[in-house]
C-alpha cells in the first residue's frame, strides 16, 4: 500500500508529534497554571506571547527558531558548542518547531480545565492538612487531567500536520525531518507523484480523525473517573 519511504514519513510524523507533546506538556501546564491562577505583572504579555504561534504565519515562527536555535543563534550556538546538540535540520528540530506551534493549544485546554476547577476543593484540602504539593498532586492535578489529556491529544493530532515551521527550521530531509505534510508537498512537486500524495493525504486524514476521536473518548472516561460525567 505504502512504499518504505512513505512509511518512514508516517513513522517520522508520529515521532515528531509525540516528542513535541512530551517536550511542551510540562511547560504548558505550568504556563497555564500561571495564567489561570497567577497575579503577576506581565501576565497579559505572557498570555499574548503564548498565543502568538496561533496568529503568526508558521514560516515566521520557523524563521524565529532559526534565528534563536541556528548554529550561530544565541541559544543554538550554546547548545552546539557546549553540549554538542544541533537542532537545525534534525528530527529534534522538527519536534521543537512542532512543540512551539502546538504549545498554545495545550495551554488553552489546560487553562480551561483549571478555570473550571472549583478552588473551594483546594481550600477544603488545605483545611484537611494538605500542603501545596500534596494538594496539587491529589486534588488539582487529577481534576485538571481531562484538560491536560485533551490538550495533549489535540496537540499531537495537530502536530502530525505541522508544515510551515518545520520546513523553515528543520528543512525537508527524507528520513530525518520529512514528516507527512512535507512528504505530501514533496510528492506534489514530483512529476507523477499525485498517487503518492493522495495516499499520504488519506493517511494524514485518518490519523487526525483517529486522534480527535481518541481525545473525545479518553476525555469522557476521565470525566467519569473524576466524577463529572
Amino acid at each position: 500500500m505504502l512504499s518504505p519511504e512513505e512509511w518512514e514519513a508516517v513513522r517520522l510524523s508520529l515521532a515528531v508529534a509525540g516528542r513535541s507533546v512530551l517536550v511542551s506538556l510540562l511547560p504548558a501546564v505550568l504556563v497555564a497554571w500561571a495564567l489561570a491562577r497567577g497575579r503577576f505583572p506581565g501576565r497579559m504579555l505572557l498570555d499574548a506571547l503564548v498565543h502568538l504561534p496561533l496568529v503568526v504565519p508558521p514560516v515566521v515562527v520557523g524563521w524565529g527558531l532559526l534565528m534563536l536555535f541556528g548554529l550561530r543563534g544565541p541559544v543554538g550556538a550554546v547548545l552546539n558548542d557546549w553540549f554538542g546538540i544541533r537542532l537545525v535540520f534534525t528530527t529534534g528540530g522538527a519536534a521543537l518547531a512542532t512543540a512551539v506551534m502546538s504549545f498554545p493549544l495545550i495551554v488553552r485546554s489546560v487553562r480551561l480545565g483549571l478555570e473550571g476547577l472549583d478552588p473551594g476543593l483546594e481550600a477544603a484540602a488545605r483545611t484537611l492538612g494538605a500542603g501545596p504539593l500534596d494538594r496539587f498532586l491529589t486534588v488539582t492535578l487529577p481534576l485538571m487531567s481531562p484538560g491536560i489529556l485533551a490538550g495533549a491529544v489535540t496537540a499531537f493530532a495537530a502536530g502530525l500536520g505541522e508544515f510551515g515551521a518545520v520546513i523553515t527550521f528543520a528543512s525537508n530531509i527524507p528520513g530525518e525531518t520529512q514528516t507527512l505534510p512535507l512528504a505530501i508537498y514533496a510528492a506534489t512537486q514530483t512529476p507523477g507523484g499525485e498517487a503518492a500524495a493522495g495516499r499520504l493525504a488519506l493517511v494524514s486524514f485518518a490519523l487526525a480523525l483517529a486522534g480527535l476521536l481518541l481525545a473525545e473518548l479518553a476525555g469522557r472516561r476521565l470525566g467519569r473517573w473524576i466524577g463529572r460525567t
Binding site: T127, P142, G227, T229
Partner: protein, 363 residues
C-alpha cells in the same frame, strides 16, 4: 477555649468582632446574611487573612497579626464543613473520609473510621462517588471527613443551608450525635433559629460585622432588648426541660424545668428523664392578674413580671420569671394598660399545651 478577635474591611462592609468560646460544645454564630459570620469562620480556618486579628485555641496561637503569626490552614487543624460539602469528586466516599485522617498528626486522637461510619450511618455509601449522593448524604460524608482529620476545632459554615427542609431534618440528628460524640469545640454558623435551638450551647449574635451579644443560648433568647432575636415572629424563651411523665390516658407529656412544670400535647418517643429544649414563643404566652378558672389552657404558671420592653408600635414584650427561669410574653400595649402591668407585679403566665411545635431535642 477559643479566643477570636478580628478586624477586616471589604468594600462597603467592615468586620470588627471579638468573642470567646469556652471548652467543648457548640457556639452558634448567628445573624442575617452578610453580617460577617462566614468571614469570621474563614479567618479562623485560615482561608482568609484579616487585616488585623488574633485567633488562639487552647493557648495555641493560630493567628496574631501584631506578632506576624499566621499559620496556613493546613497547619491549623480546624476541621471545616462547608455549605456546599466540597467532597472530592474523583475520590470515593471512603477515600474522602480518609483524606484528612492520612494527613493528621500521628499523636492526634479521635474516633476511628469505623466509629465515624457508624455514627453518621455511612456504611452503605463507602464505595460510592460523591456525584451519586443526595445533598443530605454529601453533608454527612463531609461531617465525617472533617471529624476524621482529628481536628482541635470544628468549623461549620451553614452546613444545612443548601438542603431542603426534609434533608435538613434528616441531617440534624446526625449533627447532634456528632456534637455529643466529638467532644470538640464547634463553631456553627447559621441564620436558622431551629438549628440554634437544636444544637447550640452558646450564641454569638452578629449584626453588620459586630458582635451584638454573646452568652448561653437560653439567656440570650430570653432577652427582650436584642431586636435580632426579640423582633422575630418566633421570638421566645428557650427552656431546658426534663420529661417527668407520659400521661397516655390524658394524651399529655409533663415536662419539668427549673421553677415549674409544663404540660404539653403528648410527644411519644420521649423517655421519662430525657432532656429537651422547648422554644416557648412570646406570642403564645398570655398574662392574667389572677389564676383564671374555666379555661382550656393547661399551663397557668405563677410568675413575677420582671420588665416591660416596647416591641413595635402597638405591642410590648414582657419578661416573666417562673422561679429562676425567664419567659417572654408578647401582648398589646392596650392589654398592658388595661391590666395596669408594671415591673415587680405577681402575674400568671398562660400557655396553651399545643403551642410547642418547635421542640428541639438536646442532649
Amino acid at each position: 477555649m477559643l479566643e477570636v478577635a478580628l478586624r477586616h474591611r471589604f468594600p462597603g462592609f467592615a468586620l470588627d468582632a471579638e468573642f470567646a468560646s469556652p471548652g467543648p460544645g457548640v457556639t452558634a454564630l448567628f445573624g442575617p446574611s452578610g453580617c460577617g459570620k462566614s468571614t469570621i469562620l474563614a479567618a479562623i480556618a485560615g482561608l482568609l487573612r484579616p487585616e488585623a486579628g488574633r485567633v488562639a485555641l487552647d493557648g495555641a496561637v493560630l493567628l496574631d497579626t501584631a506578632r506576624g503569626i499566621a499559620l496556613p490552614p493546613e497547619r491549623r487543624r480546624c476541621g471545616v464543613v462547608f455549605q456546599d460539602s466540597r467532597l472530592f469528586p474523583h475520590l470515593s466516599v471512603a477515600s474522602n473520609l480518609r483524606y484528612g485522617l492520612r494527613r493528621a498528626p500521628r499523636d492526634a486522637t479521635g474516633p476511628s473510621v469505623e466509629e465515624v461510619v457508624a455514627l453518621l450511618g455511612l456504611g452503605a455509601l463507602l464505595g460510592r462517588r460523591p456525584l451519586g449522593l443526595s445533598g443530605g448524604e454529601r453533608q454527612r460524608v463531609a461531617l465525617g471527613r472533617a471529624l476524621l482529620a482529628r481536628p482541635r476545632l470544628l468549623l461549620m459554615d451553614e452546613p444545612l443551608a443548601s438542603l431542603d427542609a426534609a434533608r435538613r431534618a434528616e441531617v440534624l440528628p446526625f449533627l447532634a450525635r456528632l456534637r455529643d460524640a466529638a467532644g470538640l469545640p464547634i463553631l456553627y454558623v447559621t441564620h436558622a433559629l431551629e438549628e440554634v435551638d437544636a444544637l447550640a450551647d452558646r450564641l454569638v449574635l452578629l449584626e453588620a460585622g459586630r458582635v451584638l451579644a454573646e452568652g448561653p443560648v437560653e439567656a440570650l433568647a430570653a432577652r427582650p432588648d436584642l431586636p435580632a432575636l426579640a423582633r422575630r415572629r418566633d421570638a421566645g424563651a428557650l427552656i431546658g426541660c426534663t420529661v417527668l411523665a407520659q400521661d397516655a390516658a390524658r394524651g399529655l407529656t409533663r415536662l419539668g424545668f427549673e421553677g415549674g412544670a409544663l404540660e404539653v400535647a403528648q410527644r411519644l418517643g420521649l423517655a421519662v428523664g430525657a432532656r429537651l429544649r422547648l422554644r416557648l414563643r412570646a406570642r403564645d404566652v398570655a398574662v392574667a392578674l389572677e389564676a383564671p378558672r374555666g379555661v382550656s389552657m393547661h399551663n397557668i404558671l405563677p410568675c413575677r413580671l420582671e420588665s416591660i420592653a416596647p416591641a413595635g408600635e402597638a405591642e410590648v414584650l414582657l419578661r416573666l420569671l417562673v422561679g429562676p427561669t425567664p419567659l417572654l410574653a408578647r401582648i398589646t400595649r392596650d392589654s398592658q394598660a388595661r391590666l395596669g402591668l408594671a415591673p415587680g407585679m405577681a402575674v400568671f403566665a398562660l400557655v396553651k399545651s399545643v403551642a410547642f411545635d418547635h421542640a428541639a431535642v438536646a442532649a
